[in-house]
């Protein structure tokens, strides 16, 4: 599906604030724009305000002030029209555990006004695509954790939303199922559905998303293209596994080398620094490197630094 330049943003949030009755200020003037067709990451530590923001967008939380628009439709004044275009996969399981997956999907379609015949066809289509068709007529409380998560994705697809919000959809899901879920979501994104993802698996966000916002203490602290953000990472740390034990560490200009154990060292260096000088110094000392890997995922590294810097700034 091609996105016309005149298509309004899939999501536009303007100066959104939310103060709960207990005085907690969960959102302190959040503004962001997600373009139609994007695969957008919304990251933040626990309690940063992600779920409140998603709650406001999905109309489960009433904003204290500010505006949110889904494809140009204001949620506050035209909730029904805005929700018609939205699909939500929440963080917590929220389906009737005594109903069958097929029934859950058909009911969901019904709530969006989808006629029953079409609802049945869609339920079969999405349950099959998510590998749940053989469980379609079993009571859903008997499904495994991963199946329940996939069921929530199938359910969210029943109104074929233009904007799909996934709030930590892979929490507690094994790697194989996680990959199959991402394959599905990438497929619907390629077909034109805008996807907003929150996850604590940052390598997923790095691989899948084109743009990213990081929220902390109710404020957006980063909102940019994933490529731009990753480009800001100036230091990388590599873990080197050695063939023989090492007692004395080599010294290399611009590289901070630390010993982890007899067979493992860490090398922290600027991204501008080449790896050849490091390997030359190690070879000169007769140290053989058998394998090497990044200590942390690049996005994870940045995420930790940004949140840490924001915490320090807030404390100052």
């Amino acid at each position: 599906m091609s996105i016309s330049p005149s298509t309004p943003p899939a999501l536009e949030v303007r100066d959104l604030k939310k103060i709960y009755p207990n005085g907690v200020e969960a959102l302190k003037g959040v503004s962001l724009t997600v373009q139609a067709g994007d695969f957008y990451a919304l990251l933040g530590p626990n309690g940063a305000g992600k779920s409140t923001l998603i709650g406001v967008i999905s109309s489960l939380v009433n904003a204290s002030s500010g505006e949110a628009f889904v494809f140009g439709v204001p949620i506050r004044t035209r909730r029904s029209d805005a929700m018609q275009m939205l699909g939500l996969v929440p963080q917590e399981l929220n389906f009737n555990l005594f109903e069958q997956p097929f029934q859950i999907c058909i009911n969901q379609a019904g709530f969006y006004g989808v006629p029953r015949k079409i609802a049945k066809e869609r339920a079969e289509k999405y349950l099959k695509q998510l590998g749940l068709w053989d469980k379609a007529f079993e009571v859903s409380r008997t499904l495994s954790g991963g199946m329940k998560r996939r069921l929530m994705i199938a359910r969210a697809m029943m109104n074929e939303p233009r904007l799909l919000i996934l709030d930590e959809p892979t929490a507690g899901v094994d790697i194989e199922i996680r990959r199959s879920m991402w394959k599905f979501v990438q497929g619907i994104n390629a077909a034109g559905t805008t996807v907003i993802l929150t996850t604590h698996y940052l390598e997923e966000a790095e691989q899948l998303c084109r743009n990213i916002a990081i929220i902390d203490h109710g404020r957006i602290i980063v909102n940019t293209a994933m490529k731009n953000l990753l480009g800001k990472l100036d230091v990388e740390t590599f873990v080197l596994d050695l063939a023989t034990p090492v007692d004395e560490l080599p010294t290399v200009d611009g590289v901070r080398i630390t010993r982890i154990d007899a067979h493992t060292i860490e090398a922290e260096m600027s991204r501008a620094h080449d790896l050849n000088s490091l390997f030359a110094a190690l070879s000169a000392r007769g140290i053989t490197v058998v394998s090497m890997r990044n200590k942390a995922n690049r996005l994870e590294e940045l995420f930790v630094r940004l949140i840490d810097a924001n915490d320090k700034a807030a404390a100052a």
Partner: protein
Amino acid sequence: MNSEGTLVALGTIVRREVTRILRIWSQTLLPPAITMTLYFVIFGSLIGRRVGEMAPGVSYIEYIAPGLVMMSVIQNAYGNISSSFFGAKFQRFVEEMLVSPMPGWTILAGYISGAVLRGLMVGLIVLAISLLFTKIHVYHPLVTLTTFLLAAVIFGMLGFINAIYARKFDDIAIIPTFVLTPLTYLGGVFYNVAQLPSPWKEISYANPILYMVNAFRYGLLDTSDIQLGVAYAVMLGFVVLFGVICLSLLKRGVGLRS
């Protein structure tokens, strides 16, 4: 959401409610059948024989039969919506409806329809049981039907309000135990309130169930302790009052949206 879509959404809630009622029939349909059979045996057959006629040509068992049907309708309409809607809140699948484009009134109408249908099923079961003990002739079908509908809608809405404010399962048991049951027993099911001494007689007229029981009794037996017009005015008044409260709660998201 267009009117066609709204109808689909409404039908979805009603279908889900009916499926639930039938799936757990041993909790929804069987208990009132057993309880009311005991009422007919003990109050109707055993004690009723000694009471004599309550009105010319109306035996005690005939007199209490409409009240017992109405009592079942009220309790089950209330219980259906309070447990079903609170269950949806408790398991959080109420969010399926809250994030959908459905307007609040559709959610209310769907759950009220479920309550009315459970009331109808239970009412018919109790009516069938009553036929084992006495003869029932429906004198005024329209009055019988409208009274049943109004009572089920009123107590359905009351159950909805209870479920909206409830935070734990205990909260949906308190009202039926401490309010609904006493009001039902004091609502003229088993006696004519005109026989009560003052001030209990006057106090009884403040009980809305009295009007429902008597209007229903008029429909089935052609006899009532209350003027029919007054009964309808009271019932319609409560429908409007509770309807406005329910819609206002849904619009503000009380107990549902943060």
